[in-house]
């Protein structure tokens, strides 16, 4: 049964099975003060949600928090996540979730613009003079010390682009291994480009389970998919 329906969403909300998230992509230096003000606003009203909080909810039905939980999520591995988003979160004491497409981190800086443009990683008009657009693996390791690092494929692909064992290895299994090697922690969650939900009958869905992922993140839901 599809969860991407109005009926399913209504039922989940009515049952209290919902989560607040805020998804960012590019976090420009020029927008630092705006980002800080927004994150501070959220932090005054919500508690950050960590993977262990989700685990507790799915096991006990209880959040164990006095305030609503919220996940600030930063997608696509931009360099400015390391230079702007993560430092602002650190300054405010907020734990965020980062979803880097791992292959972007390995592209030589001079080729990153072309790579981004070819892989649906949006760059903004203010950025043409930057030396690099992607964070490095060292950046990601530093971010992981205070934040959650989740997986977002290697090349920012959708689930429809994973149909063979080779695809699954390249876009799911290898990125999860690389993040675990770099951060010391297996990613608790996985998101496809375009935000498809978990499909256990597809090669893509089976690969996510095989990778040891616990949560599938989609446009409309966070799904617990494995213990």
């Amino acid at each position: 049964m599809s969860i991407v329906t109005r009926r399913s969403q209504h039922q989940a909300f009515a049952a209290g099975a919902f989560l607040r998230v805020v998804n960012w992509h590019n976090t420009l230096e020029s927008e630092r003060r705006t980002l800080r003000a927004e994150l501070a606003w959220y932090a005054e009203r919500h508690d950050p949600v960590l993977p262990g909080d989700l685990d507790r909810l799915f096991e006990t039905g209880q959040w164990g928090k006095s305030r609503p939980g919220l996940i600030p999520a930063f997608y696509d591995g931009y360099r400015n996540h390391a230079t702007v988003a993560a430092p602002v979160c650190d300054e405010l004491g907020i734990t965020a979730w980062f979803f880097p497409p791992t292959a972007f981190l390995e592209v030589p800086p001079e080729q990153q613009r072309e790579y981004a443009e070819g892989h649906d990683i949006g760059l903004l008009a203010e950025e043409p003079g930057q030396a690099a657009f992607a964070m490095t693996w060292d950046d990601l390791e530093r971010i992981s010390r205070r934040h959650v690092v989740a997986a977002h494929t290697a090349n920012h692909v959708s689930d429809r682009e994973v149909t063979t064992a080779e695809d699954a290895e390249r876009e799911v299994l290898e990125p999860v291994r690389r993040i675990e090697q770099a951060t010391g922690t297996r990613p608790p969650a996985f998101a496809w480009c375009l935000g498809a939900p978990f499909d256990p009958s597809s090669p893509a869905g089976r690969a996510v389970v095989e990778a040891g992922i616990r949560y599938q993140v989609s446009n409309t839901a966070y799904q617990r998919i494995a213990d």
Partner: protein, 118 residues
């Protein structure tokens, strides 16, 4: 009184009366550089498992959230044209419509509205 903001205030606020206008305001924003607030569902997809929330705050908020969701769903369904708030042409129509409802709902009842930066 603690002087701290009420975390539930945004959900308690009355829904937007003109849902089409609220949707148009969302569409006009540049989502690539702004945080996209969303209320998402939680599901247990493990075989034979089901999430049963027994959290007083989540249960109370959930009832209100479902009411608001229905309000915006009805409002967008009645909106005349050009309903797509987010550029998500890759989604099936029902999924795209659902995402639009969630975006407008969260824009009205979750999105940060801080004062101008100092």
């Amino acid at each position: 009184m603690t002087g701290r903001p009420d975390p539930a205030a945004e959900l308690s606020a009355p829904p937007a009366g003109d849902v089409a206008a609220a949707a148009a305001e969302c569409k006009a924003r540049i989502l690539e550089r702004e945080g996209i607030a969303m209320f998402v569902a939680l599901h247990d997809a493990r075989p034979g498992r089901e999430l049963r929330v027994r959290d007083p705050l989540a249960e109370a908020e959930g009832a209100r959230l479902a009411e608001l969701f229905d309000h915006y769903q009805r409002g967008l369904a009645a909106a005349p044209v050009d309903r797509e708030v987010e550029p998500h042409g890759w989604l099936p129509p029902e999924a795209a419509a659902l995402v639009d409802v969630l975006v407008v709902l969260a824009d009205q009842h979750l999105r940060a509205r801080p004062g101008p930066p100092p």
